[in-house]
């Protein structure tokens, strides 16, 4: 029992550092010294194995700062190691703060509980200065990268008559193809700069370019004396250039605009300045001593290391082979020779990862990771790998190489079938599916959108009130048109009389005296009613005569009316006594009588009554 306990403690002690190493939990700010007008960007990074659970996370506290924004991003890195998949989770929590006042403030630690272990970040102190009156932030001391970039000696050919200029420099005038030459652009000024912006970046078409410094905030200033005059100097841009061909290669000027405060009595003045173009003489790589398999991108001081995760595997299990190129030079572009077919192994395409060190000289490492799958058992050998390169410092070629590695593969020395699948874990990822596309026969736009977002909406808006107004106007017109006036009444009566007389003529032709005299009587009565404004048909002839006379009709007219009506009555009831001649004579008389009735002027008061 005691032995078991001791073994457990030993195992725990061994495992604890491993676990601690597997987790990365740290916080950093982009800038610790800043001004009140700048924001503080804090990033908390949590990196852990995929099987470790982030049980809890507590954000850092900064009571003296205003939190403006938070964001979270996560990344999953997968790798196959010994045929098994390993997953690393990297989470970044970003916080943007702004200080309310100047002073030094502490951002407290963030806490996380991962796999039962509580971790915390270091508190961070930021120093906030007031905004300088000249508008640019000079309080920020140069960053670490800037500190490494020492100021170049003052330019001898600087324009002495200018208080503002951009200077461009190369660190060396002559290099080999693929060798680094560093170009630097600086702004010199004797006036305070209110605002600066780049108008045109230098073109480096004939070079492979690596940015060493790009301003990410306010410019950092230093003082320098040029030709006896003191200038404020700021680094604008720094690039490592790797020439792609031999000859005289040119880098075009950098163009920038700076707004300066010339004096308290002058308006702000913007000035555009261009640096001089840069020319570098590029020598071709020497042909003498060039090793076989040399690639022109491999220029620098390079070494090659090989590492394998294990030397004994089962047939079908994968091996990871890492080949690391280290040194100085254009590491992003450095290339290993193509991998030849390896006896007894299936080789998968490598993954590459480049890590560069900060500094003026591009250096770092490039790692090629190969996944190898033994296809048979037995003693197998990974051959040596050679990387021919050209060392520009020494001016000669060299070859970096790894040593051969022996691998013991347990299994049948004859070919193993289906190695690609054997031992590899099958992954069946089931995720939420999205709904399928809409496969309509005809694609239609939205009617509502077309109707209501165009001019048609105005028409639709105006139509109902217009229709309403039209109805009102139409109805008013109809009323006006249907209202009877004296003139319209006369027209109507005359029209009726004409119609009845035509009918009467038809009755003459048809020899219908009764109907003829009926029409004549009706036309006389209608005319009388029109003139006197009242029904008169019910009156006896004697009453009619008296009524007409009382209404101011001439006596002879009243008499003629009565006489003709008597005649009509007689003829209607004794039709055999009336021939066509008699009827035509009666028709003429009726026409004359209608004229007389119209000429009569009855008393209007009576009419109104």
């Amino acid at each position: 029992m005691k032995r078991f306990s001791l073994l457990s403690i030993a195992l725990l002690l061994a495992a604890a550092p491993a676990q601690a190493a597997a987790v990365r939990f740290e916080a950093h700010v982009a800038q610790q010294n800043l001004t009140l007008d700048q924001t503080i960007e804090l990033t908390v990074t949590v990196e852990r194995d995929g099987n470790q659970v982030l049980q809890s996370y507590r954000a850092p506290q900064a009571p003296d700062l205003d939190l403006l924004h938070t964001g979270t991003s996560s990344q999953m890195q997968m790798s196959i190691f010994n045929g098994a998949q390993s997953v690393r989770m990297v989470e970044e929590h970003q916080y943007v703060y702004r200080a309310r006042k100047r002073g030094s403030f502490t951002i407290g630690p963030a806490y996380a509980k991962i796999g039962g272990q509580t971790l915390s970040t270091q508190p961070i102190v930021v120093h906030v200065a007031p905004v300088p009156k000249n508008g640019y932030s000079t309080v920020a001391p140069p960053s670490q990268a800037q500190q490494q970039m020492q100021l170049a000696p003052p330019p001898d050919d600087a324009p002495s008559n200018q208080d503002l200029f951009v200077d461009a420099r190369l660190d060396r005038p002559k290099v080999y193809v693929g060798e680094q030459v560093t170009a630097t652009w600086r702004l010199y000024t004797q006036s305070d700069i209110l605002k600066y912006r780049s108008l045109a970046e230098p073109k480096t078409d004939d070079f492979w370019s690596e940015d060493l410094f790009v301003p990410s905030g306010a410019l950092a200033w230093d003082r320098q004396v040029v030709k006896g005059q003191e200038y404020a100097v700021a680094l604008l841009l720094k690039k490592a250039l790797f020439p792609l061909k031999a000859g005289k290669l040119t880098v075009t000027p950098l163009s920038a605009e700076a707004t300066t405060l010339q004096s308290a009595f002058y308006a702000n003045a913007s000035a555009e300045r261009r640096s001089q173009a840069l020319t570098v003489e590029v020598m071709p790589l020497p042909a003498a001593g060039r090793p076989a398999g040399f690639q022109s991108s491999n220029v620098g001081q390079l070494t090659l290391e090989g590492a394998i995760d294990r030397t004994r595997v089962k047939a079908g299990d994968a091996i990871t082979w890492r080949l690391t190129i280290k040194g100085t030079g254009n590491l992003r572009n450095v290339q290993l020779p193509p991998m030849a077919e390896l006896d007894g192994f299936k080789v998968y395409d490598p993954t590459t990862k480049v890590t560069l060190n900060p500094g003026d000289v591009v250096s770092g490492e490039k790692v090629y990771t190969y996944l190898l799958m033994p296809t048979r058992g037995g003693k197998l050998t990974l051959p040596k790998v050679e990387l021919p390169y050209f060392d520009p410092e020494a001016g000669k070629y060299g070859v970096a190489r790894t040593e051969p590695v022996a691998i013991t593969v347990d299994g049948d020395p004859t070919r193993v079938e289906g190695t690609a699948q054997t031992g590899a874990r099958q992954e069946n990822v089931l995720s939420q599916q999205i709904r399928p596309i809409h496969d309509r026969a005809r694609l239609r736009g939205e009617v509502g959108e077309r109707l209501f977002r165009g001019k048609l909406a105005w028409i639709l808006l105006a139509a109902p009130p217009c229709l309403w107004l039209l109805v009102l106007i139409g109805d008013a017109l109809r009323r006006r048109l249907t209202r009877e006036t004296a003139r319209s009444k006369r027209r109507r009566v005359r029209r009726s009389a004409r119609h009845r007389l035509r009918v009467a003529e038809y009755h003459i032709k048809a020899s219908r005296p009764s109907a003829f005299f009926g029409e004549c009587a009706r036309v006389i009565y209608e005319h009388l009613e029109y003139r006197v404004g009242a029904k008169v048909e019910a009156l006896t002839l004697a009453e009619l005569r008296a009524h007409l006379e009382s209404r101011g009709f001439p006596k002879e007219t009243a008499e003629a009316v009565v006489k003709e009506l008597e005649n009509c009555d007689f003829a209607r009831f004794a039709p055999s006594a009336s021939g066509p001649g008699e009827m035509r004579a009666a028709l003429r008389r009726v026409r004359l009588l209608l004229g007389m009735i119209e000429k009569a002027r009855p008393d209007d008061k009576e009419v109104a009554a």
Partner: protein, 261 residues
């Protein structure tokens, strides 16, 4: 005579309308062919081709729920979450009740949150009226308003001819209710139109974008936003746009990184 003139004008109108419709037919047919080509490409797993075909149709100015929805699907399958979310949002602008678009938008947002999540701290500065009208489409509120508006005037016209009595009293009561309803619908419709036409809303397209303090790459980065975040465009300066987040945070980014709704 008047009837004859009216009928002649009506016939002339029908002929012109028919002619205009026929003139539009080849364009519509070409649009449909391209749309089906996109559908075929999608169904065969060629998502980039599908995106290209759908974008061609969209470039013709057609605003269709199906088109934007399919385009969103094609982008999502291509792994471009920002454009996918943008197109689902466009589809839902036209038809907020489109369930498929709602479902896939949720899936796309969940996928985007796996990469990065923008958690906005601070009060939501979106005005109340915008929140009230945003869930409805212009079409829906348009139909509602114009329906009530038409009915209101129909009642007004009928009232003109109806003699005093119970029917007339009933019609006046209906008119009063319709007035209130039309007023509310007009306010909603007007607000939605203003939101659609005047309030420039946009969706962030790339997976991650640095927001600058000014309209130039040389300005300091204030913060970063991620694919699918909805922002309001408040100003333009050449190819830069000033955006405001719902919590009031502002900054500049390139206009090409935004999908305007």
């Amino acid at each position: 005579m008047k009837t004859r003139i009216f009928l002649a004008l009506l016939a002339l109108g029908i002929v012109f309308a028919g002619g205009a419709a026929r003139a539009d037919e080849p364009l519509a047919a070409g649009r449909d062919v391209t749309f089906h080509r996109g559908n075929d490409a999608y169904l065969h797993g060629h998502y980039a081709d599908a995106v290209s075909a759908y974008e061609q149709v969209a470039a013709l100015g057609l605003r269709s729920v199906d088109l934007f929805y399919n385009l969103g699907n094609a982008y999502l399958k291509s792994g471009q979450l920002g454009p996918a979310i943008y197109n689902y949002e466009r589809a839902l602008e036209l038809d907020p009740g489109q369930e498929d678009a709602q479902f896939n938008l949720k899936a796309a947002r969940a996928e985007a949150q796996k990469k990065a999540e923008d958690r906005l701290v601070g009060g939501d500065g979106t005005p109340m009226w915008q929140r009230a009208v945003a869930p409805y489409s212009v079409g829906t509120l348009g139909w509602l308003f114009f329906g009530l508006y038409g009915l209101l005037f129909t009642v007004l016209i009928v009232l003109h001819f109806v003699q005093p009595g119970f029917l007339r009293v009933g019609l006046w009561a209906s008119f009063a209710f319709l007035m209130i309803g039309t007023g509310v619908a007009a306010a909603l419709f007007g607000g939605r139109l203003y939101l659609a036409n005047r309030v420039a809303q946009a969706v962030v397209l790339p997976d991650s974008v640095q927001i600058k303090d000014g309209p130039d790459a040389n300005y300091t980065s204030s913060f970063s936003v991620h694919a699918g975040l909805r922002v309001r465009v408040t100003e333009k300066d050449q190819d830069w746009a000033r955006v405001r987040l719902s919590n009031g945070l502002e900054g500049w980014l390139r206009e090409r990184d935004l999908g305007r709704l």
